[in-house]
Symmetry: C2
Subunit: 390 residues, 2 copies
């Protein structure tokens, strides 16, 4: 187990009545609010009205920044920072999923940074403070509601960059599983894949003696896998939605990485995929993660993959050799993703091999060395993984 410092200050209000906490939060931080959201979905589902009503009850003065898209864009962040400065915003409230939250994170940090906000994502600048950030979550997936991560895409060159910072932790997050009832099945499925990927990136580490966090991750993965078919079948099953929503927040809140170093190669390989093809992040991960597993299995990954197969996917101990158990785990994971209606190959997503070298080169160039911690990857190895995904 590695030495670590852990702190997660985000206050979570969870449940059917969680939004009732919003007026008290507004009173804490101030009534000049910038509300950040995507398109019309929160208006169709009633979440916009519910939030607005609570803000009115809190006598808040609200500015709106809408138009957040998947793989959220830098230009909108810049608009938001401008609004914060013009109107002395006291609290930024993201209403939506990871894209709205990541946009809002960039805004609350950028508003407290003198230079260009993109510096923060390129590691060329830093800030010690940020504006207070509230979240009303509608999509359990990115885990941004309780994480220190934010990913933004600069649309000029589709350059996608992530930033981890303490000032990225939301001040508070409101999680009502009912808000996820109206998600289209594809989006529910992508969210499930993303949540599991956040846990699996941390699970696959070469760090030894991490039994506690291994077992916590395994328990959370099993819970997501058990509840996924329920929500796919019955989108308004509160209890199953609640299990997945809370698992989604814990998946990425840094607790499950204490004492270990995650891998994150699959995420980076997927980032390049979604930057070039604008595919949904979860859908991309359903393709990339199993391919990554197949690649690392014969390269030192068998033991951990076999543990994963047995404890998470219930592959029996007498199934075969360690390698066979591990391979069966990968097959079961692919089968699970397919049961959610997702493709598990690039071809199945309509993507061919034409840009594989470009994506591999970009993914590896980004980290300035080898990619990932479990099996460090060169650009050639990254290409192999994309090809295994065809």
């Amino acid at each position: 187990m590695k030495d670590f410092t852990f702190q997660n200050p985000t206050r979570i209000h969870f449940g059917r009545n969680a939004l009732d906490q919003l007026p008290a939060e507004v009173k804490r931080y101030g009534q000049r609010i910038l509300m950040v959201y995507g398109g019309g979905s929160i208006k169709r589902t009633g979440v916009y009205d519910a939030v607005t009503e609570k803000l009115q009850a809190a006598q808040a003065q609200v500015w709106e920044l809408s138009g957040v898209q998947p793989n959220p864009r830098l230009s909108l962040v810049r608009q938001g920072i401008q609004l914060c400065r013009e109107h002395q915003i006291q609290l930024v409230l993201a209403v939506g999923g990871g894209s709205a939250i990541d946009t809002a994170k960039a805004i609350v940090n950028g508003a407290c940074y003198d230079g260009d906000v993109w510096d923060l994502y390129e590691g060329k600048g830093s800030n010690n403070t940020a504006l207070p950030l509230g979240v009303v979550l509608t999509i359990p997936a990115a885990g941004s509601e309780m994480s220190r991560s934010s990913v933004i895409t600069r649309e000029e060159d589709w350059c996608k960059r992530g930033r981890n910072a303490y000032t990225n932790f939301p001040t508070f997050s409101i999680l009502n599983p009912e808000y996820t009832y109206t998600l289209p099945p594809f989006q529910t499925a992508c969210g499930i894949v993303d949540i599991m990927a956040h846990m699996m990136e941390r699970y696959f580490t070469m760090e030894e003696h991490v039994e506690l966090t291994d077992r916590l991750i395994e328990g959370a993965l099993v819970t997501v896998i058990n509840n996924a078919p329920i929500v796919m079948e019955k989108p308004d099953d509160y209890d199953a939605r609640a299990e997945i929503t809370w698992a989604g927040a814990l998946a990425h809140n840094t607790l499950l990485e204490t004492g270990r170093v995650g891998d994150w190669a699959s995420h980076k390989l997927e980032h390049e995929l979604s930057a070039l093809y604008d595919v949904a992040h979860g859908a991309g991960l359903a393709v990339v993660f199993p391919a990554w597993m197949k690649f690392v299995l014969p390269r030192g990954g068998a033991t951990k993959l076999a543990q994963f197969a047995q404890r998470v996917l219930a592959v029996p101990q007498d199934f075969g050799s360690e390698e066979e158990i591990a391979a069966e785990g990968i097959r079961r994971l692919e089968g699970f993703y397919q049961s959610l209606g997702l493709a598990t190959t690039l071809t199945g997503m309509g993507i061919d091999d034409s840009r594989i070298p470009e994506m591999a080169a970009r993914a590896v160039a980004l980290v300035g060395g080898k990619l990932g911690g479990f099996v460090p990857l060169t650009a050639e190895m990254a290409e192999d993984i994309y090809r295994l995904a065809l």
Copy 2:
């Protein structure tokens, strides 16, 4: 799953070099420090010297309050509050286990409360702020290093009272598993029992659809059970000590109770035991918890006890009926406690039945109604449990 609000602000510095973070923490909060600790053990083990050296490096001015005893006493708390006020203390630093930390929690809260600190424990007063509280942990057991709980005994009448409050969360806690190498085997064993009890009190709930937290608790319990024999055999096994130390903090940090209501009857029954007989809390729990399980098994507890038996203690599904599986789980738990060198009966601790009615009456009177949430207990039922423990 119940609605909940969750926030745990404690900053954890964990590992062999965790104490290196102390000077930076002192710089954050101030150099006028009250150090709270027990007797000579931290001097014998070198922890006192190590802490003092870091405090000197931070140019701190240190006052000392030593003499903390197990089942920590109100009179020492009052002395500490007096010292804080006299010397404008800026940071209270507890060095030790739960007793030192709970004493320090009472001090940092009491110092910011105008009335008598015991009011806070009797629910007759409240405070919104507390002095910053740092912890250097030497005994993984109480979980106080990352919890909002504090338990203090008023020695005039041996009245033991717990208080849960947001202001009880330590500001930071330093957890170096090496500091636990020198614990006597009995204390290591008691700590393991206490850690498991914190998880089991939350596990045994009648709340349904709590799969995620159930599985997180199960994973943490299995980890403790797997690593316990290692530390009993080889006290300086860093990795096993680290697993137990981190599990001990997470056991009580409120994450594992999200969405559910714990039982806590066993803790309250044990508190009366240790208040009257001054036994170690963990030793008392090793006696009370199995007796409580035997009592609730035929009263609606079989299903959850059987789940516990199967998932935590590996009782096979084909062992027998649900009741038989549950009963085997209790036997295995008792066997595990005995393997740590602990008694699992009152008689084995040298305690007879003479004060059972008194303890039962006190435990139930304290809660002003029935005791516990899993199977609510009357005083008569509490007596039955103590008798089952004979």
